[in-house]
Amino acid sequence: MSREEVYEKLNEVFRDVFDDEEITVSDETTAADIEDWDSYEHINLIVAVEEAFGMKFSMGKTTGMKNVGEMVDEILRQAG
């Protein structure tokens, strides 16, 4: 899976979870950039991303990822 492919799928997940067709995320995107991205929505987002890519993030990763770029790194690492 290429980084672009990951982003394509990831954007769909973000658009569904935040119900906003305009969202396009990038490496630098953080919770501060998306209005509804609070701690509850973070849980829902993580679960949706895990389901979409068929993988699980560790507890450390779940709280430790600083931006979307780190999430993509982790997805690519697990997809290996």
Partner: protein, 596 residues
Amino acid sequence: MKELEYPFDAEAILRKRKKLRRSLMEDGSKRMQKRIAVLGGSTTHDIVSVLELFLLDAGIEPVFYESDYGQYWNDVMFDNPELAAFAPELVCIHTTTRNILRFPEIPDDAAAVEGLLEETYQPFVQLWEKIAQRYHCPVIQNNFQEPYFRIMGNRDAYDIHGRVHFVQALNERFHAYAASHDNFHICDIHYMASCYGLQKWSDPFYWHMYKYEPAVPAIPEFSYNLAAIIKSLYGKNRKVLALDLDNTLWGGIVGDDGPENIEIGQETSVGQLYSEFQAYIKAQKDLGVLLCVDSKNEEENALAGLSRPDSVLKPEDFVMLCANWEPKDKNLQEMAEVLHLGIDAFVFVDDNPAERHIVREQLPGVAVPEIGQPQDYLITLDRSAFFETTVLSQDDRKRSEMYRANAQRRQMEAAFTDYGAYLDSLQMEAEIGAFSPVYMSRIAQLTNKSNQFNLTTKRCTQAELERYAADPACITLYGKLADRFGDNGVVSVVFGHQEDAVFHIDLWLMSCRVLKREMEYAMMDVLEEKCRQRGIRKIRGYYYPTAKNKMVKEFYGLQGFARVSEDDAGNAVWVYEIKEATKKRTAHIQIREAGA
């Protein structure tokens, strides 16, 4: 909404719930509003947001109060002012095995374990009693799921030190409380967790990471089950199973194969599967669900299939049998008319996806489950929870008989030219009296589900009705009607309150099963007499139109009231002056006043 019907895609619901919510809110349907407090022993955010979807889909618009994390007990016991101001109409207590603070330890003796059980159980009893006394509203309480690990392995189930044993003992206490208290309902997460798979349900990741129990992926399953209880409490249950025959109630096609060759009974594995399904349907009938046949068949073939000695369901189990070549949606409409039920009372069960599609398109109010393969039929119906039984009254058990008796009455009616003579021939006897405890559950049930013959459509919980019954300013009346064909049970509920010399009718409803029997006259005669005895001079009646109660628009006019006002929306006020003596309205019913 298809996405929210069982079997649903839980992942899609979680991911797309904002969009789902938006389209539900924009669909323009009218919904009843309910204030629901969810008091959690764990995070409840997602539970509430998914629960909202299922309730919106069922015509209920919830407003939620959510306790802060883990505050389920404190909020109630220390009268959190926010909760008090919210004034819940329903309280759901979301606690789980994670909220059991102490489990038995190996050195404990039997008395210590018993003590620990009480120490765990009693705070819940205090909580429930406080809610009943403070908020007078129904409570839905989770029981406990099995622990997800066993200290002693299999011994955990029976040794007093075992956690499995401890949870079972607690659940027994919870269930005994539920069995002996109205207005208290168990949300059986013990069962749900085992259906879902305990290990996934209680995945410790979600507890330690987010304080969620059950795990986030299991939340739609949990919320659907909870929504079923709430829907049932607010009268949103379905009432009728309209069933196809060939390859739905038996294997094969009776018209082609002949009744001797269809698969039912114990001879083949397919026959056994259908027999189990039929036995399930029969048990639903015993609970008060009405059964109808909606099948493309010659009637004689349909009857021949159902008359096989090894068919669990017999022709007389069905209140209506539509075996013909009409479109199935047309048959359903006819059933709704004859049975005086809304189309949204029906569940249509058919193995043929094309038939399901047509009914879904033509009659969007009908529930049309995707029942899958024959081995899935039973589970799909069961888990869809169309008939969740929160209240089980005598009447439910007798409902089928009553509907069949109605069909007999209609035949007899056809034989009379004079309607009054027909009514006399029924030898009707009414029992009318103030709300009494034996009938309370039936009174609450009627109050929450009657739509058509209902002047104000005021919904009340059983606890509220009990308060009206005890209030000296109120007059409450129930009416039972029996005739030569059988007892219809409680069919009418009326109550109102007195202000000075004026009586206001807050609720007037009657079951459509006794339409045109003059039971409303009998109720009004008794009400008028009760008012007269209290020195009341005027009775005011109110009519509030809904989508379903047009039939009673002129009701008060027929009872001798005069219309004093009506606004643009059709809300009308009627008034009746009580005179010294009046001619009784009732001409064909013997009235017996209960407790008089």
